[in-house]
């Protein structure tokens, strides 16, 4: 397609450069209308028909998600778009996580997406096309990774102040590692923290504790994630503390309010959250 475009542009530039070299010479005898019909009507019809047939009839079939009825054998993941982060659910396992999707390699994974608020767009450039995420429609896209690895994805539809920081990772793992990860994520948290329950539980859930709100990301295994705030910052103790203290400086316009915390409380919460592996 790029080569074809370069050729098309080349033809035009060649004609115009030709005109430059013949400037001042009368060219009334040069071909006119016939060239316009040949290059302006016949050629594009042939090129467009070929492009249309290849891309919109054959290529589109090979990369579309299977229709709903045929999808039963594939792994399916539910993704819910929020301003400005991604909620990930694994149906059947009870696993709820955020901004990091784990999938087994060489497996067709059907991702069903919908939005909790405004329109987002789910896009992992290296794994497939993008699909818009609507509040009033569930859309589906297929992910397929040949090789294990970390693939960056992000919101592609403008969704508000922090559209720029609404990224996520897809981790493609060998089947055994993926299964191990899923089992670990399904476990409830071992420890309860009264300060978290007091300050954070109106928005966040930690399974196995009384905190079960789903306004913000589920934090049951937040310590096992590699990044925070939809890839805004890496998940380290220092960044976690900074995030708790200066939420609106780290990610201005984030839906998370700045909670009034003393330094000691920040340290305590950071230690607790980082321990939730």
């Amino acid at each position: 397609m790029l080569a074809g475009s370069a050729a098309g542009l080349g033809v035009i530039v060649a004609i115009l450069v030709g005109a430059w070299f013949k400037r001042g010479v009368d060219g009334a005898d040069r071909p006119g209308t016939i060239t316009v019909i040949a290059l302006g009507i016949v050629t594009p019809i042939l090129v467009l028909a070929a492009l249309f047939a290849y891309s919109d009839i054959f290529l589109i079939r090979g990369t579309s998600p299977p229709v709903a009825a045929a999808a039963t054998n594939d792994l399916s993941v539910r993704v819910i778009g929020h301003q400005f982060w991604w909620e990930i659910r694994y149906p059947g396992s009870g696993v709820v996580t955020a901004n990091e999707i784990h999938i087994p390699v060489r497996t067709h994974v059907v991702v069903s997406v919908h939005s909790d608020d405004v329109i987002h767009s789910f896009w992992v450039p290296q794994l497939n096309r993008k699909i818009d995420v609507f509040p009033d429609q569930v859309n589906r896209v297929e992910l397929y990774a040949d090789k294990p690895g970390r693939y960056r994805g992000q919101c592609a539809e403008f969704c508000g102040l922090q559209h720029a920081h609404m990224g996520f990772y897809v981790f493609a793992q060998p089947r055994a590692a993926y299964d191990r990860w899923l089992r670990m994520q399904a476990r409830p948290a071992k420890r309860f923290n009264a300060l978290f329950d007091d300050k954070c539980s109106s928005c966040h859930a930690i399974q196995g504790t009384p905190a079960h709100a789903h306004v913000g990301p589920d934090l049951t295994h937040v310590g096992s994630r590699t990044s925070l705030a939809a890839l805004t910052i890496p998940n380290t103790a220092a960044h976690m503390a900074d995030w708790l203290r200066n939420t609106q400086q780290v990610k201005p316009g984030s839906q998370m309010p700045e909670v009034d915390l003393t330094n000691a409380q920040v340290r305590q919460l950071t230690r607790y959250l980082e321990s939730l592996k």
Binding site: S5, V36, L39, L51, I60, Q154, A156, H163, P252
Partner: protein, 629 residues
């Protein structure tokens, strides 16, 4: 027997405008309205350009803090709105269309002169309305496409979106008036003998753009009114929680939005088809094909809107249909591209500044068109949509294909409007600076888009390999700004220092070159007769007009008179009296501004009062114009 001098003197008196500022405020002369449009749109072009430069400065390095997300979102929203609704459309239809169409078809004014003035004052007021919003911190901030639910009250509770809905609705009134005026003018005021097949291609282009506006804008207006009602009066058109649909906004918006793209560039095609014959000394190759293609491109443009929605999860059958329709719109475009190219190739081109801009336009249009064709490959579109690849594509079209001919047209018609010649060498230098700058600015966007950089982000991470491309783009932006400043500096200096141009410095093909520069208020002392689409090249006809002036045939000097022609073959069917300068247009525009101001702050009582004022103004408007005896 009346002498020529006496006839001209009588026309001068009958068509004279009021002196001074009052004359400009009450003018209905299409040339003055055109100039008012011209200067005003340039101010908005400057504003849109500054917004673009601030955005490029923010994006010059990753994680930059020059502006925050709130400012950035308003900047890209208002930049898009400004360039489309307050620069290109008013510059083409308002400035070029108003000034040139009557001169090209041998008319003395637009068909509805007071409506013409009204459209300008509304346009000016709507632009001030938008920028008052921006400067008071309530600039629209949900993108020029303004998708709901992001733009609904829940997610955007402040007044920002009211400046979007009301500003655009206000602006569309002006565009609709101008478009209706251009259609009637082109259909009914053509010089005797100017049948459709003898009409300049420029007029075909403006006819196509005007019909496009008339049919596309209602869809946008409905969308805007729905959203205003939902945000302010509790309606639920797009409210998902109450059975509304977020798709409805997108369908209505793009049903307007895609034809809009062709409305932006078809007038540019028209400008190209004037400049090419003038500087190649030959008539356009494939004239009928080009005329039909100009109309077809807008017509087919109405059937492709859903290609803006390829990633929304519409059924594949729908996508394939719209991809097919999109492929069809390529054909009228390629016809025109090769007709321009072959006309240049087969003529004797003189590469003066206007033609250079047209050549730049052709190259940019083809480059942007080829990336456009790629989008009809649905899987490719779904990969690249909402990335900088799209930004590159439509800036090649909108800057390269719509704005380059506007620049070329400014240089081409500068001698006609001012009576002065511009300086050629600085003009050519400014072209090359702009051409280099825009390509540096927009070409790397293709690459960075393919590397995955999404649109509408106020910043980006430093480890994605996007940084160096963004640096080049920003430098290209600054170079483009320098080039544009050079271009206008040259025009300003030429205005004061340029050599006198005479009526026809280019040996131009159409009728505007048959009258003095600048044209007198009545345009034509004698209504010209026409026997081809290149009327100014028909020396016999022009000579005969001279004899008719001496004999007093077709001078229409008894009053403020204008001939009206039959629809298809262009023969004079009657003579009508035209209105003269009037205070009502500016008064009506002022009343409308107050109405919209009351709506934005939801003072409905005052809005109703101003609606009554508007009705009274209309009554005054329709009182009989005092006629000069």
């Amino acid at each position: 027997m009346t002498s020529v001098a006496e006839r001209v003197d009588r026309l001068e008196r009958q068509w004279a405008e009021r002196p001074g500022v009052l004359g400009w405020l009450t003018t209905t002369d299409h040339k003055r309205v055109g100039l008012l449009y011209f200067w005003t749109t340039l101010v908005f072009f400057g504003a849109g350009g500054v917004e673009a430069l601030v955005m490029r400065s923010q994006l010059i390095q990753p994680n930059n803090h020059l502006v925050g997300p709130e400012t950035f979102d308003q900047l890209f929203t208002v930049h898009g709105m400004t360039m489309i609704f307050w620069f290109i459309i008013p510059m083409t239809t308002g400035a070029f269309g108003n000034y040139l169409v009557p001169l090209m078809i041998g008319a003395r004014d637009m068909a509805f002169p007071r409506m013409n003035a009204l459209s300008f004052w509304i346009f000016l007021a709507s632009g001030m309305f938008l920028y008052i919003g921006l400067f008071s911190g309530f600039g629209p901030d949900a993108g020029w496409f303004n998708y709901v639910p992001l733009a609904d009250r829940l997610h955007d509770p402040s007044r920002n979106i009211e400046f979007y809905t009301l500003g655009l609705a206000f602006n569309s009134i002006a565009s609709t008036l101008t478009a209706a005026n251009l259609i009637v003018t082109i259909l009914k005021l053509r010089a005797p003998g100017m049948s459709f097949n003898r009409m300049p291609l420029f007029c075909f282009a403006f006819l196509a753009a005007s019909f496009g506006l008339i049919f596309a804008l209602p869809s946008l207006s409905v969308d805007l009114i729905f959203l205003f009602l939902q945000r302010n009066l509790g309606f639920h058109f797009f409210d998902v929680a109450h059975g509304g649909s977020s798709f409805l906004w997108q369908h209505l918006f793009w049903f307007f939005g895609h034809p809009e793209v062709y409305i932006l560039i078809v007038p540019a095609f028209g400008i190209a088809t004037e400049i090419i014959p003038a500087f190649t000394r030959r008539k356009m190759i494939a004239f009928p094909l080009v005329a039909i293609a100009e109309l077809l491109v807008v017509f087919i443009g109405f059937g492709v809107w859903a290609h803006h929605m390829f990633a929304t999860g519409l059924p594949t059958t729908t996508l394939v249909f719209f991809a097919g329709a999109t492929s069809m719109v390529v054909i009228p475009s390629t016809i025109q591209v090769f007709a321009w190219c072959m006309s240049i190739y087969a003529g004797r081109p003189k590469f003066k500044t206007p033609l250079l801009f047209i050549i730049g336009f052709i190259v940019m249009f083809v480059a942007g068109g080829l990336t456009g064709i790629m989008f009809l490959a649905i899987p490719f579109d779904q990969q690249t949509t909402d990335t900088y690849f799209v930004v590159a594509h439509f800036h090649y079209i909108i800057f390269g294909a719509a704005v380059f001919p506007i620049f070329g047209g400014m240089y081409y018609w500068f001698p006609k409007v001012t009576g002065k010649l511009y300086f050629e060498r600085p003009g050519q230098i400014s072209f090359w600076i702009i051409f280099a700058g825009t390509n540096l600015l927009f070409f790397p966007m293709h690459i960075v888009g393919l590397l995955g950089m999404p649109r509408r982000v106020y910043t980006y991470p430093g480890d994605m390999g996007w940084t160096s491309y963004n640096v080049i783009e920003s430098i290209g932006g600054y170079i483009t700004a320098v080039g544009i400043l050079a271009l206008f500096t040259n025009l300003v200096v030429s205005y004061f220092r340029g050599a006198p141009a005479g009526p026809d410095p280019w040996h131009g093909p159409t009728l505007e070159w048959s009258v003095p520069s600048p044209p007198p208020e009545y345009n034509f002392a004698v209504i010209p007769t026409v026997s081809s689409a290149y009327a100014n090249w028909d020396a016999d006809d022009r000579e005969r007009d001279g004899h008719r002036l001496t004999a007093g045939v077709g001078t229409l000097e008894r009053g403020h008179e204008q001939h009206v022609s039959s629809l298809i073959d262009g023969w004079t069917s009657e003579i009508v009296d035209m209105p003269h300068s009037s205070p009502w247009p500016i008064a009506l525009a002022l009343a409308l501004s107050l109405l919209f101001a009351m709506l934005v702050i939801t003072h409905y009582l005052f809005a109703a009062i101003f609606a009554v004022v508007i009705a009274l103004t209309l009554l005054g408007w329709h009182g009989k114009e005092p006629q000069e005896s």
